[in-house]
């Protein structure tokens, strides 16, 4: 446990030093603020800058709070996810390439501690950035658009967090197993994209898929009650996170052992 804490503190210090704890939350808050603001000023923006014919009447129905927050989650899913995965693509792979990994593991450091310290740190940073950004979005939405029930906001946020954890776990695992950070990022984003596409075009076939969690969190904002397959998705995703992490630790250990033997 002592060792784990040291490794975790090393991660924390490193990402404080390269400003990850500053700029990633700021990016999420900016994304969170932008969506309610543009929804609120949408009619004005169209009137000012849209090339509408003279005398055209702009009649756009004002969006509901649920729509705006669902739009915010969509923004997080595009730019936010991209930023997070690219920021952490090298979390293990880069240390492999620049030799830090050999230095760390030359000491009697358990692979389990090394990998889980990194993993927990990535999840903490990702989840807190998301929660900050989402809180900003909710604040602006209530201020500008209208109120929304507290439980709807909280549950949609929790479900979205689980999806975020799934993607970041995948990113850490792939970074540990592959030698190139670029390849790890590409594989993670491709998987996230495929899961998202499947959840849009064949939602009935992939009810328990992690990709459905984004759909469930948005639908919870609209309906306020769990959709069919909601709990299945949650359980399958939590299980997958556990399996991926266990497999990654096992394979990572063997990989390093094979390297030392050879």
């Amino acid at each position: 446990m002592q060792q784990w804490k040291v490794l975790f503190r090393k991660e924390l210090k490193e990402s404080l030093r390269n400003y990850k704890w500053l700029w990633i939350p700021v990016v999420f808050v900016l994304l969170g603020i932008t969506q309610p603001l543009t929804s609120y000023y949408f009619a004005d923006i169209i009137e000012q800058f849209g090339a509408l014919p003279e005398g055209a009447i702009v009649d756009i129905p004002p969006p509901t709070s649920a729509e705006v927050l669902a739009g915010t989650l969509g923004q997080f899913n595009q730019i936010g996810l991209l930023v997070l995965v690219l920021a952490f693509m090298g979390t293990v792979a880069a240390e492999k390439n620049d030799g830090t990994l050999i230095m760390v593991l030359a000491k009697p450091v358990a692979h389990f501690n090394y990998l889980t310290a990194k993993w927990v740190h990535v999840l903490v940073l990702a989840v807190s950035s998301f929660l900050l950004g989402y809180a900003a979005a909710v604040y602006y939405t209530i201020l500008l658009i209208g109120s929304i029930s507290f439980s709807q906001v909280v549950i949609s946020a929790l479900v979205y967090c689980l999806w975020l954890c799934f993607v970041m776990t995948l990113a850490v695992c792939l970074s540990a197993l592959l030698n190139s950070s670029g390849l790890a990022a590409f594989a993670t984003l491709a998987t996230a994209l495929i899961l998202s596409i499947a959840s849009i075009y064949a939602p009935d076939l992939v009810k328990g898929s992690p990709g459905m969690l984004t759909v469930y969190s948005e639908q919870y904002l609209y309906a306020g009650e769990p959709e069919d397959g909601f709990w299945l998705g949650v359980i399958v995703t939590a299980g997958l996170i556990f399996i991926m992490m266990s497999a990654a630790i096992y394979l990572f250990k063997n990989q390093e052992a094979a390297k030392n033997a050879g």
Binding site: N18, Y19, K20, L22, V26, L30, V83, A87, S181
Partner: protein, 71 residues
């Protein structure tokens, strides 16, 4: 000109201010990091231009790719 001033006064500043402030924080952090760093991934002057002139995405791209080995 008067029209511009009038429209500027119409803007709800307390609402928009956080947006500018956060963008500024992002830009300044990236700029400070870039200037303090010995070497960047590519010409430094180019990164400075990217950070200053491309709003929001400029600093992000610098943080992601401007530093060597994602350090």
């Amino acid at each position: 000109m008067n029209e511009l001033i009038a429209s500027l006064q119409e803007v709800n500043w307390p609402l928009i201010a956080p947006l500018f402030l956060l963008s500024l924080i992002l830009m300044i952090t990236a700029l400070v990091d870039c200037l303090k760093r010995g070497q960047t991934n590519g010409p430094k002057i180019l990164w400075i231009l990217v950070i200053v002139f491309i709003n929001f995405f400029g600093p992000i791209v610098y943080f992601l790719f401007g530093r060597r080995n994602n350090e």
